[in-house]
């Protein structure tokens, strides 16, 4: 794509990652949450793929690292759920407390949102990598 498109997407991508991080952390206080943040995180990588080409992006965000983030965050979610058993029942919210409406009042919910956001983002980016392997173009 032309120089203007490439420079603009390079400048806009980090801000999308910041927006995704805001959605992940404030998911229990305002509209947002894990899945939505994950989609935006994935779009920030896919925008770079459509403007710069698949080969160049693959050199920076390697396949193995993306796959590692996906599996590791999925394991974190299930370990968090199983850890709730020690305190009560499966998926119990064991970090209650904190004042109503502040950032820390969610318990395990922000941790869960972060893990889901990373998994969904890595998952969608991985999906695009694999589909693009078949349709190589630049």
């Amino acid at each position: 794509m032309t120089l203007i498109v490439r420079t603009t997407t390079k400048l806009v991508s980090p801000f999308m990652v910041t927006y995704a991080a805001y959605l992940m952390l404030y998911g229990h206080l305002s509209p947002g949450g894990g899945f939505q943040a994950g989609v935006i995180l994935a779009v920030s990588v896919i925008l770079l793929i459509t403007s710069h080409g698949y080969k160049r992006v693959k050199r920076k965000f390697r396949l193995k690292e993306v796959s590692l983030i996906e599996s590791a965050s999925a394991i974190t979610v299930i370990m968090l759920a199983i850890a709730g058993i020690i305190f009560g029942s499966f998926f119990y919210n064991f970090l209650r407390g904190g004042e109503f409406g502040s950032l820390i009042s969610g318990g395990i919910i922000p941790i869960f949102n972060i893990a889901i956001g990373l998994k969904v983002g890595a998952g969608f980016a991985l999906l695009f990598y694999i589909l693009l392997r078949w349709v190589e173009s630049d």
Binding site: K64, S67, I85, S89, F90, F91
Partner: protein, 509 residues
């Protein structure tokens, strides 16, 4: 504690996908896979001590939480799932040779999804786990290396998804009218209105498509025949039983319209006879067993439509055991003799496989004391006047088609290699399980009616052979290019639309 039955296979599935990115497949994949598939047995045995039992995930109250439970409705479904999956898992240890980490991860995801759908008592939770199992099933059908396997996976995908979205639409209408999604709470606050009746008809149609019963069976023969051998056993054995559990849940919570029940009874008998007729005309052994699944699902729907829930539970349990046993035995033969045509396969040199296939064929025909006869007796007690004669004719028909399969398999032909001993041992174990459960449930031995059925079936078989019915060839109706696949989907979706309209009109007049 029962929620761990679902969480641990999921955990092992993610560990498997982690090690498959680092290419450590050879060393660690198999132990992790076996651990993930056999751990739920431990939790089942622990939970049985305090059954019946329910648990709300997270410790919330019933209005705000997801309820899961284990009582006498789901126990046999869950037991069948664990037995069939353990057998298929041991079989697939030797069957898959490349990409093993990813295939095992998909199998464990299917396991977690099936267990989750059988223990749920909440409609939306049941839908989600059924979707997890179905998506894994689509991918697993697609990895087979046969010709046109990916076409079969695509057709399965489109139709199964059409049904899922209609099921969610029906649940949406139920939520709109009652305000709850939990089965117990809906039962307490139920007032039947016309919209809930329409929602029940839509839900039944979508579950009939997912279970592969007569007018909506079109995806089943291709998908079950072209999948890899252990996956076929899983699909025909237990993945088609998950919609049956959904129908049971709906039947227990709502009181269904009487017109709809009569319509379901007619469809069930149509499915049984259609399956038998098409089984007689098949030459490919896996397609024959797939049409047999269409036929037997008709028996289960028949049992539901005469309000006999015990019949549904025991017949599903029995059918899972024998269908998966037959697919595993057929897989053992196909693997070593490298052909699927009935005229080229034989079990002459292998006594263990011969006993297993004969035993399983007798079980599926309803001969006592195998477990099939116990289930058929329960259904028979609920039928009245002329339906009983149709039932006897259907039994004789099933026996005839299985006599056909055994006749071709018993002819001596030249054999290049022997089957693997792991496969032979697994199929023999499945046959022993059908015999053991039959005796444990207390099936009565009815020698005279069994001998009479086998006698009439043999006479019918000889008559059909004399008229050369077995030489008729069925031609495929649509061509196999990409445009052909699209036209096939158009035709069958149109048929689905017409059946849908007919159901809606006939249930309400």
């Amino acid at each position: 504690m029962i929620s761990l039955m679902v969480a641990l296979p999921l955990l092992f599935a993610f560990f498997l996908s982690l090690i498959s990115t680092f290419k450590l497949d050879k060393k660690f994949a198999k132990p992790l896979f076996i651990a993930g598939s056999l751990i739920p047995w431990l939790f089942l045995l622990i939970s049985l001590k305090s059954s019946p039992f329910y648990e709300i995930v997270g410790g919330w109250s019933r209005e705000g939480g997801i309820e899961i439970g284990l009582n006498d409705y789901n126990l046999y479904f869950l037991l069948a799932e664990l037995i069939v999956f353990s057998a298929a898992a041991l079989y697939s240890l030797k069957y898959f040779t490349n990409n093993t980490g990813k295939v095992y991860a998909l199998l464990l995801l299917m396991h977690a999804g099936l267990i989750g759908s059988f223990i749920s008592k909440d409609f939306f939770n049941y839908y989600i786990y059924m979707e997890i199992a179905s998506v894994s099933a689509f991918a697993l059908v697609g990895i087979s290396e046969e010709k046109h396997a990916k076409t079969a996976a695509f057709k399965y995908l489109i139709f199964s998804l059409l049904a899922s979205y209609l099921f969610i639409f029906a649940i949406g209408i139920i939520y709109l009218k009652t305000g709850y999604l939990n089965a117990e709470l809906i039962k307490e606050n139920l007032i039947i209105t016309k919209e809930i009746d329409i929602a029940l008809v839509i839900a039944f149609i979508s579950l009939i498509l997912k279970a592969g019963i007569f007018p909506l069976y079109f995806w089943l023969p291709d998908a079950h025949a072209k999948a890899p051998n252990p996956i076929s056993a899983l699909l025909s054995g237990i993945v088609v039983k998950s919609p049956i559990y959904g129908m049971l849940l709906i039947h227990e919570t709502f009181s269904v319209n009487a017109n709809l029940m009569m319509l379901l009874r007619i469809i069930a008998f149509a499915s049984v006879f259609f399956g038998i007729v098409l089984m007689i005309l098949q030459r490919n052994v896996k397609r024959l067993l797939a049409y047999s699944t269409v036929s037997q699902m008709g028996y289960i729907l028949l049992s539901l439509s005469i309000n006999s829930t015990l019949g549904v539970i025991y017949y599903s349990f029995a059918h899972s055991l024998f269908k998966s046993g037959l697919f595993l035995s057929a897989g053992a033969l196909i693997d070593s003799q490298k052909s699927k045509n009935l005229k080229k396969l034989t079990y002459r040199g292998e006594p263990l496989l011969m006993v297993s296939i004969l035993g399983l064929s007798l079980a599926i025909g309803g001969i006592s004391p195998f477990v099939g006869s116990y289930a058929k007796n329960i259904i028979l007690k609920g039928l009245t006047d002329y339906w009983v004669y149709l039932f006897y004719i259907a039994n004789v028909g099933t026996l005839t088609s299985f006599i056909k399969m055994n006749y071709y398999l018993a002819k001596p032909k030249e054999v290049k290699a022997k089957s693997r001993s792991l496969y032979k041992a697994l199929s023999f174990i499945m046959m022993l399980l059908t015999l053991t459960f039959g005796i444990y449930f207390g099936a009565e031995i009815k020698l005279i009616s069994d001998v009479l059925s086998i006698g009439i079936a043999l006479i019918l078989f000889v008559i059909l052979k004399r008229f050369n019915v077995f030489e008729i060839e069925l031609k495929p109706k649509f061509e196999r290019s990409m445009k052909g696949i699209a036209e096939e989907i158009n035709f069958y979706a149109g048929m689905f639309g017409i059946v849908f309209l007919i159901f809606l009109l006939l249930s309400f007049f």
